[in-house]
């Protein structure tokens, strides 16, 4: 594997051992172990929703019984120890033994085709649903008998109370009976879906039309485990259900949400499958078919579901863990004693060359004259800045930052005294009505200005890399992969692997542009135009000398009332926004209160911010309306 960072999709990893070596247990902890509805995740239907690359399939594969058993059978392995702790935290283990038998059913195959058959919706839904159930039962049995750890006749299924009538239709409670019936159902239904011409409804094979509902009937499974018996709960993980037709998905989801079902069922899906309202988390639009979130089902969002600062911190841990697992697998780094990935992308600030520093000083002097700031006032401002920098925890306290902060404050000073009367007889140096303040926002604005004025790197360091990834594992690996490719160059050239700030920024910016150029999803052209337009406006405002938005803007705000109407309307802009969110071009923050108004913030994603040289700090936004979005996305 030349650069494993660049080969992410877990489906491509065929070998379980390799998968376990590189899989990070962090998503289990991040999204499941501390979920407020953790107690219900094996009882209620669960929709695990995430953008492409957020780690849904990795999570599903890791939870499969086959891998859980492989992990538990070799507890001496350090990787397995970490994974088993995470599995236990998410409820997959109980007292060091499996508590759940999960099986992942990819939904990308022929299920969608059943919706094209010339039958009634209810018939088409049943065919797909029964095929899913048959394959789940076969997958379960394959997982339970994997590695010859137990025989088929040692597995017993336990039925739900009052399900006697349904036992016969699923082949009884013996594993062999259940397997034979599942095979029969699978064969019959597959023959319908795969036939060149669909049979007439009255000629459907009996095995495909007889009742078959193992999910409603089976409650637990009794298996031999390390010399004893163990009762575990079955769980079907339907992966990539967004591949279904939307109506088909609704019907299957409704069927799976029946309360009497004791079989665990998770639906892993992309945001695309949801309505714009649901993507924007409008409470009114999430309810579906009389099903209510949290009562009838639980949504687990793999991004943006909790406090964003907390989420960012958690993602950094997860990303560091993943990167440290991938790094030793890079061919060029073999036989090297590698430090943690974090140390290879240090946040040591860049330094301007002497020549650039002289240019900057000259510019500040010119601006001092332009803003009519007296030497005494400049000295006061410089003291203010020096005082802030002396007390700050930030590692970036270089002289150029101090100079750029002085420039921002001089511009602010000029603004604040602009309405005061100029005296003809003395130096005009009044105190501003609102005193000037040097703080972190001004420092961040200074760094942004330095990027524009002197080409000084703005985006570097592990935290910036994580923040630019918008808590998306795949995006992180893509960006990190580009940095690793540059580290390979360092290795080839016989240099230290750690990348200086400027190199990091060059790589990240080029990769971000490449990612954006590669966008290929519905409305991608409109989304690109919209984010480019917003980014250009944000940058213009961010670079105003007085930096009125502090660290700078990377978002626009639309009044909640207006956004609410848009999301409920049949408007193409709503779809553009939905796909922009679903594919990581923007993020949305609802009900953001500022200036006694309620805003919906459309925040540019980290990749867009990288590409356009905007701050990754959140909060700075331009007040706009939906017409503005429509115009930019045209």
């Amino acid at each position: 594997m030349a650069n494993p960072f660049l080969r992410r999709a877990t489906e491509y990893i065929r070998d379980d051992t390799t998968f376990l070596e590189i899989v990070s247990p962090a998503p289990l902890t991040t999204f499941l172990a501390e979920h407020p509805r953790k107690a219900d995740i094996f009882d209620l239907p669960i929709r695990v929703v995430g953008a492409p690359g957020s780690g849904k399939t990795m999570l599903a594969m890791l939870a499969e019984f086959r891998l859980v058993e492989m992990i538990l059978r070799d507890p001496t392995n350090d990787t397995n120890k970490q994974l088993s702790v995470a599995l236990a935290g998410a409820g997959f283990l109980d007292d060091g033994k499996p508590a759940v038998a999960a099986v992942r059913i990819p939904m990308e195959s022929e299920y969608r085709d059943f919706w094209e058959l010339p039958y009634e919706d209810s018939v088409k839904t049943k065919l797909a649903l029964w095929l899913v159930q048959a394959r789940t039962m076969l997958g379960l049995l394959r997982g339970l008998t994997n590695g010859d750890h137990r025989r088929l006749d040692e597995i017993r299924f336990i039925a739900r109370d009052a399900s006697e009538a349904q036992l016969e239709q699923i082949g009884g409670l013996t594993a062999a009976g259940i397997r034979d019936r599942a095979l029969e159902v699978q064969r019959a239904i597959y023959s319908i879906g795969a036939s060149l011409l669909p049979p007439d409804i009255d000629k459907l094979p009996k095995a495909a039309t007889d009742p078959y509902q193992p999910f409603e009937c089976i409650q637990e499974i009794d298996i031999p485990w390390m010399g004893g018996r163990l009762t575990i709960k079955p769980l079907a993980i339907l992966d990539d259900v967004h591949a279904l037709h939307p109506d088909q998905f609704e019907q299957i989801f409704t069927a799976l949400a029946r309360r009497e079902i004791k079989f665990g069922r998770w639906l892993m899906m992309r945001l695309d499958a949801l309505s714009p309202g649901a993507v924007f988390r409008s409470a009114r639009s999430v309810a579906t078919h009389n099903l209510k979130p949290d009562r009838d089902y639980v949504d687990i969002f793999m991004q943006g579901g909790e406090s964003r600062d907390k989420e960012r911190r958690r993602f950094r841990d997860m990303a560091a863990d993943m990167a440290d697992r991938y790094l030793p697998r890079v061919t060029a780094f073999r036989n090297r004693n590698l430090p943690p990935f974090r140390r290879l992308v240090p946040d040591e600030p860049p330094r301007l060359s002497e020549a650039k520093m002289r240019e900057l000083e000259a510019l500040i002097d010119r601006d001092q004259r332009r803003f009519d700031v007296t030497p005494a006032r400049r000295a006061t401002i410089e003291e203010l800045v020096a005082g802030y920098l002396a007390g700050t925890q930030s590692g970036d306290r270089e002289r150029e930052v101090s100079l750029a902060m002085v420039r921002v404050l001089m511009a602010r000073y000029a603004n604040r005294v602009s309405d005061q009367q100029v005296s003809l007889f003395e130096d005009f140096d009044p105190e501003p009505r609102t005193p000037l303040k040097a703080n972190a926002a001004v420092a961040e604005a200074a760094r942004l200005h330095l990027q524009a004025l002197s080409g000084r790197a703005l985006h570097y360091g592990f935290d910036a890399l994580c923040d630019a990834s918008n808590e998306n594992a795949e995006l992180f690996l893509q960006l990190a992969g580009a940095l690793v490719a540059r580290m390979e160059t360092q290795a080839i050239r016989g240099r230290v692997l750690a990348l200086p700030a400027n190199a990091q920024q060059d790589v990240l910016r080029a990769k971000a542009a490449e990612i954006m150029d590669g966008w290929a999803f519905p409305f991608a052209r409109h989304v690109r135009a919209m984010v480019d337009g917003i980014a250009a406006d944000c940058r213009e405002v961010s670079l105003l000398p007085h930096a009125r938005l502090g660290a700078g803007a990377n978002a626009v705000g639309v009044l909640e009332e207006e956004m609410g109407k848009l999301l409920l309307a049949n408007d193409e802009l709503a779809l553009i926004l939905k796909y922009a969110v679903a594919h990581g071009a923007i993020e949305v923050t609802r009900n953001y209160g500022q200036g006694s108004k309620d805003w919906c913030l459309i925040e540019l994603s980290g990749v867009v911010a990288l590409s356009h040289g905007l701050t990754l700090r959140r909060g700075g936004f331009l007040e706009r309306d939906t017409d503005y979005l429509r115009e930019k996305g045209a």
Partner: protein, 375 residues
């Protein structure tokens, strides 16, 4: 990953920009691993990266970027895996459609109806049994062709080389009858070779005389027929059989030349043994593959600058057949940027394969060393 080789290339190419170096390392590593390292003449410790470094270094510093860009953007390398695909496709994509058309004619139906008609299927099988496949050189990879078509073509329908003795002809006559008593002779003969760039090796007319593999095959067949019939036996190929010439890979120049020359031979050869002749290929390389003035001036200039006339002197007999006065653009002036994994054609530009000392021109080291039959 060959760190040392890559570092060397970076020094030779003077890649001071890390971004450029990273992009090029990625490309070099990918191409070496997936293609170029497989070249049959490379050995452990001296594969693509090392040879590429040595090759680049022999150019003057100002010419290196042109040489590098040529390899990156113009070189076409046909790997064994790719050639095998062309071999495997020969029967289903060339032979079957042709035989199906003939079977349809015989059965009085449309070609697409052949598999649905008993008469069509029987005709197809009969024509197939009466087809003989002959390899023209080692490159025809008859072993691969035979394995790929196991169950379709019998052992007795395949002859791995052109020089067939009388005994073999008698054996073929015996075997075709054994397969079906009604069959006594082959009606279709496929002559198979791996690659043609100019068509000259296959058929050429020079100094009022025809020459080439086709001429040799025709002469051989006349002699063999006489020898077999002298023994009172039936020669296993009918008079005026249908001749099919197939190359797995052909340039457009060769394809056009073969069409033109075989048509002329068909008209002019009084002693031709075949009744009809057609020319096919698995992969037709486009005419744009050839280096041309205007588009490839920089590389053509390198071909001039680093040419060593020793090459021509060494290969004069062979090159003379193509009526050339130098070999700057390769045999028959084909000017190809082409490498086959098992060898480099002499029709490719010598810049790629020339191995010369400093006499009569520039001393050159090859990037893809050529195993030369002609000297």
């Amino acid at each position: 990953m060959n760190l040392f080789g890559l570092r060397l290339i970076a020094q030779i190419m003077n890649w001071t920009d890390d971004g450029v170096a990273t992009a090029e390392y990625t490309w070099l590593s990918l191409m070496a691993a997936t293609k170029y390292d497989g070249y049959s003449d490379f050995r452990a410790g001296s594969r693509f990266t090392e040879n590429f470094a040595i090759w680049l270094k022999q150019f003057d510093a100002e010419d290196r970027q042109t040489a590098y860009d040529f390899i990156k953007r113009r070189l076409v390398y046909i790997s064994n895996a790719e050639l095998y695909r062309a071999i495997e496709a020969f029967y289903p994509e060339t032979v079957t459609p042709h035989l199906r058309r003939l079977a349809a004619q015989q059965a009085g139906i449309q070609p697409h109806e052949v598999w649905g008609s008993g008469d069509g299927v029987a005709a197809f099988k009969r024509i197939k049994r009466r087809s003989l496949f002959i390899g023209m050189s080692d490159g025809s990879r008859i072993d691969i062709m035979r394995r790929a078509n196991s169950g379709r073509i019998t052992q007795e329908q395949v002859v791995p080389m052109m020089n067939i003795g009388t005994e073999k002809w008698l054996d073929l006559a015996k075997k075709i009858k054994e397969a079906d008593a009604g069959d006594t002779q082959f009606e279709h003969v496929y002559l198979i070779d791996d690659f043609t760039a100019s068509g000259t090796t296959f058929i050429r007319f020079k100094d009022g005389k025809w020459n080439g593999k086709l001429q040799k095959f025709n002469d051989m067949l006349i002699g063999a027929r006489e020898a077999v019939e002298a023994q009172g036996k039936t020669f296993p190929i009918v008079e005026n059989y249908a001749l099919h010439i197939h190359h797995y890979v052909s340039t457009t120049q060769a394809h056009e030349a073969l069409l033109e020359r075989t048509e002329r031979a068909n008209r002019e050869w009084s002693d031709r043994t075949f009744g009809s002749i057609d020319v096919t290929q698995g992969t037709l390389l486009p005419a744009s593959l050839k280096l041309t003035a205007g588009r490839d001036d920089a590389v053509i200039a390198l071909c001039e600058k680093y040419y060593n006339h020793d090459l021509y002197l060494r290969l004069i007999e062979h090159a003379g057949e193509a009526e050339q006065s130098d070999l700057k653009m390769g045999y028959a002036d084909c000017a190809l940027p082409l490498i086959l994994e098992h060898n480099t054609p002499n029709n490719s530009i010598p810049l790629l394969w020339a191995e010369t000392t400093g006499e009569n021109g520039h001393a050159m080291q090859p990037l893809f060393r050529r195993r030369d039959r002609h000297g």
